[in-house]
């Protein structure tokens, strides 16, 4: 069942009146002293920060992660065996005319 047009209008009117009634509820005024006391605890407000200040803060937030990443990569490079890579490089630089792909792969 859905409401007829007339019922919808009636319902709207009833609910609107009921809603407006809520505004008439009596509520004591706010305690301004309490509120001002709470606001004083926040201290004076800071004006909107400049873009560069925000950017700088953001960059410094990334610094620990970046340092960790550098340390991790250094560790990985030290652990890796670079000798074979050096041999290939040496072959390429010194004997390019005799160098073949089969030699490179040790076949």
């Amino acid at each position: 069942m859905s409401f007829s047009k007339r019922e919808q209008e009636k319902l709207k009117s009833i609910l609107r009146q009921a809603y407006q009634e809520k505004e008439k509820r009596r509520i004591d005024e706010l305690s301004q002293d309490d509120l001002m006391h709470r606001l004083r605890q926040f201290g004076t407000i800071q004006p909107n920060p400049q873009f560069l200040t925000v950017f700088e803060e953001f960059i410094w937030q990334l610094a620990p992660v970046t340092s960790l990443l550098i340390l991790a990569l250094t560790g990985i490079l030290l652990v890796l065996d670079l000798a074979s890579g050096y041999d290939v490089f040496h072959l390429l630089m010194n004997g390019t005319e005799e160098f073949t792909w089969s030699q490179m792969f040790g076949v």
């Binding site: 859905s2 019922e7 009634e21 301004q32």
Partner: protein, 201 residues
């Protein structure tokens, strides 16, 4: 609630507060507390109004540097108050910490009689505001925070879609669609118990 012709304007007071004069904020508090209370009284449970009003003024104080003066201070504060209500209902719909009201036989009878009543007599004259308020609260409790806010602003308060969108910070299209859907949900919610009743009788 325009600026007093004799005193400093709202924008001047805001400048003073931002410059460090916290006491100047008290003038804004005095001037607009009734306005904020009016917004909150309609939208929140009675016992939540004062606490939320305090939160609204705290939020306003902290956000004062963002007040550009494009709109009036009253409108800017209204936006904060409306969004505080939205936050309240969003939080409430997740926690369900308030008891839900019931749609009783008494409400069904009342609604059926009220809808079938041919006279234009308002329920003020019939002294039946209590039932209407209970029915309204029951229905609103069953809507999502988003639907509830839009329904209150557009359907119950008669604000334009544009104004509701501005106060909620949503797109006009979003408010328009939600307004239509929430009205449908409300009708469905209220017509369901009546349908059962009509079937039984």
């Amino acid at each position: 609630m325009d600026n007093d012709s004799c005193g400093p304007s709202d924008a001047e007071i805001v400048c003073q507060v931002v410059a460090g004069s916290l006491n100047a904020f008290e003038q804004l508090l005095k001037k607009y507390q009734n306005h904020v209370l009016r917004i909150l009284k309609k939208r929140l449970p009675y016992d939540q109004v004062k606490d939320t009003a305090q939160d609204v003024f705290i939020r306003a104080y902290q956000s004062l540097p963002t007040f550009k003066g494009d709109s009036s201070f009253e409108q800017w504060l209204s936006t904060i108050a409306v969004r505080a209500c939205y936050d309240f209902w969003r939080k409430h719909s997740k926690s369900r910490e308030f008891p839900m009201s019931f749609f009783t036989e008494k409400h069904q009878v009342w609604l059926e009689e009220a809808l079938s009543d041919q006279s234009s007599q308002s329920f003020h004259e019939r002294g039946l505001q209590k039932e209407a308020r209970e029915i309204l609260d029951w229905a609103l409790e069953r809507l999502s925070a988003e639907d509830r806010m839009v329904l209150e602003m557009v359907y119950l308060e008669g604000h334009s879609v544009k104004k509701a969108a501005c106060l909620l910070g949503w797109s006009t299209a979003n408010v328009k669609v939600r307004s239509f859907r929430s009205r449908k949900k409300l009708h469905k919610l209220l017509s369901k118990p009546l349908k059962h009743r009509r079937r039984e009788t």
